[in-house]
Symmetry: C2
Subunit: 361 residues, 2 copies
């Protein structure tokens, strides 16, 4: 056996050099004579590593002063609850832009805490586009506007931060953070589960404008209060130390690869190659998403005959192309091509797809 | 450098064979051609591993039918909030037995959700004993009674489940779960952060009597609702997959070591050896806890002259005895001797302590 090209939507492939370093030092980390998993989060070595990870993330994303970075737990789904808890009063409206299953879930979960509204939604078209900004019906009194900057199931992605005026923009960037440069100052709060472009599952990164931390004052229980976590530098309670460490290694790997501009160029090439193979297949493969909103991270596609799906999955797996099964909501296939997927992986997939079409034409 | 005896209170030492196995298969797990961190939590391989981990835990603890086991996130501190959210109505009383800092924290955090009461507390004596059961002033209308079965900072431990009648007993077992056999049927709910006796930080195990899951109905947001997590077999959202996997390896290691009866015998020997060294030091070392309540997991002790503390720490570290610094609340030293600490580690510590006393008499 040997490692294969892993197209899993998440938990997703990690950069192999990161895994190799973690493997080499799994029993003895630095000068600690213990695993990084076995040392106190309040010890000098861990705190130095944690601070370096934050510095590297700030450098990669160009996070301005006036924003705090939190390393938390619970998955993005927990933050579908924590964001409204922290940023809005219980009777306040929050505007949601629905572009797929993840923004829908966030919308549904927010109802326990606030008054969520659908300001725009592409659900009637089966989530195949970003609703045009001119059609968004934003409330002036909304606590914030929520978007999912990339939808892993429907393969729909925002490529710019929409202008929502003075109301803070909140983005669930779980599946495309660090895939290209962004202008953090356009956002009030960004959150991202780690298990696509950051590290292993169990870690969530929150980037929040400092003034928004005041909104929770006196209302939110300590452990769910972003302000409390910010005051304690994310050490309010024991953080997921191994996940934090691995995220730090991923940030170092990204810097060594040339940072986010280099990642964006590579991600653009990978996505262009794959969509070209789909679009150039004479209808053998199809992706239904508006080309302007096609995700560069998750590429769902169907075969012209669904009876071939099982054979495609079996043969692709045998060819070392893993986890291509599409989500049950949309069926077909899905290739997730996050930062850690090398261009050779997409080349191998495209070659396989062409060969498969020829053999099963 | 080489691995040393690690007395960290948590994140704490893990069994070396567990780390070695994780290291060996970190890049390729089973037949997956990927790391366990890189595969879907809904794939066959992960789900089989997860189910085996639960089976092994059930076997080790003798968890009866009628109890659910949940693998969650957030640390024990998050469950200081989630337990009252799930098991009590907002206006309901909850009885707390205060035996140290962790039960105090749980008491304070519960106030956001319920009406916490101190039914008994050893705080006036500096947390050096378990208040006698006869003195507990339990409310008949309490939703549950909360104890911390072991206090890591003050070194105070319950060795039996107290009889609290028909009211469910809730135990924070973060720091002594799996250290000896227990009668799970005496508890309504047990929760434990992983980072002492289970695995790495970022995972919390909740063992809950099924009828108590009904208490949250319609009140608690999905992501904080134990019943919702139980319905989804802890896959309501992406779990901390690597921590779950490592916990499973720890459970296998415990079974191979002879299960909890064998661990209890070893833990008793380790604690007896260390307390004997303290008590037999003619006052050079001291532990202030009532011998009937002395923790077998965390042994705080002071030197007769606090001016020697820094030297003790420096020399012990050089001797390969790590992380002996006591918590700032109580000062002095603390040796945490969880399951993964071999008896040889305590022997080495005791020899060092005797030698140190001789040299710095």
């Amino acid at each position: 056996m040997s490692r294969a090209f892993n197209f899993s939507a998440g938990p997703a492939a990690l950069p192999e050099p990161v895994l190799r370093q973690a493997q080499a030092e799994l029993l003895e980390w630095g000068a600690e004579r213990a695993s990084v998993m076995e040392v106190s989060h309040r010890g000098k070595a861990f705190m130095a590593m944690a601070a370096a990870a934050e510095r590297d993330l700030r450098e990669l994303l160009g996070i301005p002063d006036g924003y705090r970075v939190l390393f938390l737990q619970g998955g993005a789904s927990q933050h579908f609850a924590q964001v409204p808890m922290n940023l809005a009063r219980p009777d306040q409206a929050v505007d949601f832009i629905l572009t797929g299953s993840w923004s829908e879930k966030a919308f549904a979960d927010a109802a326990h805490f606030v008054r969520p509204r659908i300001a725009a939604g592409a659900q009637d078209g089966g989530f195949r586009a970003i609703p045009p900004r001119a059609q968004w019906q934003l409330s002036e009194d909304a606590a914030y506007v929520h978007i999912a900057s990339n939808e892993t199931i429907h393969g729909v992605e925002f490529f710019d931060a929409p202008d929502v005026g003075a109301v803070p923009l909140v983005a669930d960037m779980s599946s495309n953070i660090l895939s290209r440069p962004i202008d953090v100052s356009r956002y009030g709060l960004i959150f991202a589960g780690a298990q696509k472009n950051i590290g292993p599952s169990g870690l969530v990164i929150v980037i929040v404008r400092e003034d928004l931390l005041e909104r929770s004052a006196g209302r939110v229980a300590r452990i769910f209060d972003y302000a409390a976590h910010a005051r304690e530098d994310s050490l309010l309670n024991t953080p997921p130390t191994f996940a934090w460490y691995l995220a730090g290694l991923v940030f170092q790997w990204l810097k060594a690869k040339g940072g986010l501009a280099a990642m964006a160029a590579s991600n653009d090439r990978k996505a262009a190659m794959l969509y070209a193979a789909i679009d150039g297949s004479d209808g053998y493969y199809a992706n239904p998403v508006d080309p302007a909103a096609r995700s560069r991270m998750n590429v769902p596609f169907t075969l012209h005959d669904a009876a071939l799906d099982a054979i495609f999955l079996e043969e692709s797996r045998a060819a070392g192309l893993l986890a291509l099964k599409g989500h049950r909501l949309v069926g077909g296939m899905r290739a997730s091509i996050y930062n850690a997927m090398p261009e050779e992986g997409v080349e191998a997939l495209v070659a396989f797809m062409r060969d498969f079409a020829r053999r099963h034409g």
